[in-house]
């Protein structure tokens, strides 16, 4: 979990630095809780038979869950003073299925100032613990950070 009393400042960020990775195991119960929490009851996200009929290996995490995973990792890095502006574009390469663990990783690819804002571009990706392959991304998460003044 993050240390919310600490704040990261734009001046201290280095291009290339990595953010802490976050793991998201996906048992079926968590898939069901997510469907309920975000009101997305499309059967492919909680029903193995329906997902497999559509060609997937198993029920798979929905887009909201996947972007939420990235947002949690990003928010823990930018702290309370950081701002979130944009996510993507990013590709959904393959399904994140029940029984796997999603590993979220990110790194700083660019920092710049524009219109009085201090932006940082993070390159995010989700990796399957089972296969080691990228399941979502790489994609951009555009954030702002406060200045030391």
């Amino acid at each position: 979990m993050a240390e919310w009393t600490q704040q990261r400042y734009w001046e201290d960020v280095r291009e290339g630095e990595e953010i802490s990775e976050v793991l998201f195991p996906l048992p079926i119960q968590r898939m069901v809780m997510e469907a309920g929490a975000v009101y997305d009851f499309h059967a492919i996200h909680h029903n193995r038979d329906v997902a497999q009929t559509g060609g997937a290996r198993d029920m798979f995490a929905n887009t909201t869950f996947l972007v939420g995973m990235w947002e949690r990792a990003v928010r823990e890095w930018i702290g309370l003073g950081g701002g979130i502006r944009k996510v993507g574009p990013f590709p959904m390469r393959t399904f994140n299925t029940a029984g796997d663990t999603v590993i979220v990783r990110g790194k700083v690819v660019r920092k710049y100032q524009e219109d009085g804002n201090r932006f940082v571009e993070l390159e995010m990706q989700s990796v399957s613990k089972k296969t080691g392959g990228i399941t979502v991304g790489p994609g951009t998460f555009l954030v702002t950070l406060p200045s030391r003044g």
Binding site: M1, T63, V67, R72, R75, K86, F90
Partner: protein, 191 residues
């Protein structure tokens, strides 16, 4: 025709390129609520105080707690049933499933497609305003911008790209969403 070219007819789908699929703005079923924010944070095990503690949120310049930005996707869904319509549970087959009311209802022209299944392939969302407790997510415009037919390992279909503009109850643009999904007929051997 190469082996990757779709054999389905996308003529009707292509007629909708550039047109707004919404017959009128589509409001999500529920407003942004503290309990639904908490439940999503619970699934993610996300403990950021901006989403739990009004005092902390105000100290950092927000009006109060707000939903994490990705929850735009939680609050844009229309209802699955509403008073006055007959039951939608017309089968007890364990694999019987519904779509949200807007698909096939008067609010949105369902994107004509020969596909019978679908999943998201590419996403891009610009977040312009936080979602505060009590706010509504309203799709003001939903345009089909591209149709790219192609066979893939799961079936024969097309990549459909939509651009959606979301506003809140005050008419302020809160997000711009661009999403590509693959609409397809699954290969017979996939089951």
């Amino acid at each position: 025709m190469t082996s990757s070219e779709s054999e389905l007819d996308w003529t009707e789908t292509r007629k909708w390129i550039g047109r707004n699929l919404l017959t009128r703005p589509r409001k999500g079923a529920d407003p942004v609520e503290r309990s639904t924010i908490r439940r999503q944070l619970e699934v993610l095990e996300m403990d950021c105080p901006l989403h739990y503690d009004d005092e902390v949120a105000k100290r950092y310049g927000y009006n109060g707690i707000f939903a994490p930005y990705h929850m735009l996707m939680a609050y844009f869904w229309p209802p699955w049933w509403k008073p006055g319509i007959p039951t939608r549970w017309t089968s007890d087959d364990p694999n019987f499933w519904l779509r949200p009311l807007s698909e096939g209802e008067e609010l949105k022209v369902p994107t004509p497609t020969p596909g019978t299944a679908g999943f998201v392939t590419d996403v891009e969302v610009e977040f312009l305003q936080p979602l505060y407790v009590g706010d509504r997510v309203i799709a003001a415009e939903d345009k089909l911008v591209d149709v790219n037919p192609r066979k893939t390992r799961v079936g024969d279909g097309a990549f459909l790209t939509h651009e959606v503009t979301y506003v809140n109850q005050r008419g302020e643009v809160i997000a711009r969403w661009r999403m590509t999904s693959y609409s397809y007929v699954p290969n017979p051997q996939q089951r």
